[in-house]
Symmetry: C2
Subunit: 205 residues, 2 copies
C-alpha cells in the first residue's frame, strides 16, 4: 500500500491535515476495509513534533528515512516554514515534482513553495498574492499564474490558502483517485454544508 | 494558566480538535503572547493514542493523573466511545458537571453522553436524534431537549454533531471567554466563509 507523506515542521497547523487524512482511512460507514493509501508523518527528527495548538505528534519517518516510493507529499502549513529545517524539504519536493508524484502545499507551505521557485510555470494559489510575493521575492516570477481560489490544482501540484483546508483535501483526493468523483463530491458537501443542512435537504431532521 | 483537557480515545476523530485548540493558542497575528489557556491531551495511558487517520498523538495526562482544577473538558468523537475505556471517563465528566466546569462533547462523544444520562435535563444535539436514542437506550430520557443544530450550548455543556466542528469550537470559545465576542465571531466567519470570500467582501483579491 502506497503512503501519503505529511511533512510537519515545528508549530504546524493542526487543522490542515485531518480532512485529507481521514478521507483516506474512512468512508461513509467507518474505517475502510481496504484503504488505498496509508497516512504517514514525516518530521525533521523522530522526536514528537509540536503543533500550533501545543500538541505533540509522533513521526513515522524523518526527512532522511522516507521511502523511495510514495503516493504523495503533503506540506502542512504553520509557523515552521521560515526556519532552516524547511530547506531540507526542498530536495524531497524537487524529487517528487520531477517524478510527477502529487505534491500538496497549503498556507505558509504554499508561500514556501513560491520561495523555492516551485510555483513558477503552474497555476497556483496560497495565502493571497501579497504573501506569495513577500515570501517568494526574486524566486517567485509567476504572478500571472496566481488564481484567487481556496485551492488550485495544476498537473500534480495542489496549493491552497489556510482556510481552504477542505477544498485542499478534495483536490488531493481527486488527484489520488482515492474514491469515485461522486463519492469525493459527497464527502465535500457533507462537511461544507454540515449534517443539519444535508438532512433538511433530504427531509429528515 | 488553566488547562483545557481533550479526552482522546483510540481512533479519535482528528478534525474535531484543531478549531478549538488553535484559537486558544493563536490570534489573527500568530501565536498568542499571553494565551488564557493551555491545551492538554488526556488518554487512557501515556502511550501515543491513535487517530482515525492513523496518526499517533502524545498524551499529557492519563485519566488518573489529570489536575484537580482545569478550565474545561472536551470529549472528542471517533470510534472509541463504545470500548470499555470510555467508562473511566464517566467519573471525570460527572465531577466537571457537578462543579459547573465547561464540558464539550462532539459526535460519538455526544452519543456517549446520552448513554450516561448526561443529556437529560439540558438542551443538546449530537449526530442526529436517532443516534442519541440508539446509544442512549433507557438512559436517554430527553428527546424533548434535542435541538436540530450543528452545536448547542446549555449552561456549561456544549454538544455538536461531527460536521459541527467549527460551531462546536465557537460555542466553547464563548463559554471560555477566550476572546471578546466580536473576535470570536471574526474567527468563526474567517473559517466559515474562507479567505477568498472575506477578501472579496472587503474589495481585495
Amino acid at each position: 500500500m502506497k503512503e501519503i507523506l505529511y511533512i510537519l515542521l515545528d508549530n504546524y497547523a493542526d487543522h490542515e491535515i485531518p480532512f485529507l487524512a481521514q478521507a483516506i482511512t474512512t468512508d461513509e460507514v467507518g474505517l475502510r476495509q481496504n484503504p488505498k493509501y496509508a497516512n504517514k508523518i514525516v518530521a525533521a527528527t523522530m522526536a514528537p513534533v509540536n503543533s500550533i495548538s501545543g500538541f505533540k505528534m509522533m513521526p513515522d519517518y524523518t526527512f532522511d528515512t522516507i521511502p523511495a516510493d510514495y503516493a504523495a507529499i503533503v506540506l502542512i502549513g504553520g509557523y515552521g516554514w521560515q526556519a532552516p529545517n524547511a530547506d531540507k524539504v526542498t530536495t524531497i519536493v524537487a524529487n517528487a515534482v520531477m517524478r510527477g508524484v502529487p505534491v500538496g502545499a497549503i498556507c505558509n507551505a504554499a508561500s514556501w513553495m513560491a520561495s523555492k521557485g516551485f510555483l513558477n510555470g503552474i497555476k497556483h494559489t496560497g495565502n493571497g498574492l501579497d504573501q506569495l510575493k513577500l515570501w517568494g521575492g526574486d524566486n517567485y516570477t509567476n504572478e500571472a499564474g496566481y488564481v484567487n481560489a481556496q485551492a488550485v490544482t495544476d498537473g500534480n501540484i495542489v496549493t491552497a490558502n489556510g482556510t481552504g483546508y477542505l477544498d485542499f483535501a478534495v483536490e488531493m483526493l481527486r488527484l489520488l483517485e482515492n474514491d469515485t468523483p461522486e463519492m469525493i463530491d459527497r464527502y465535500h458537501m457533507f462537511f461544507k454544508m454540515g449534517m443539519c443542512e444535508i438532512m433538511a435537504m433530504y427531509g429528515g431532521k
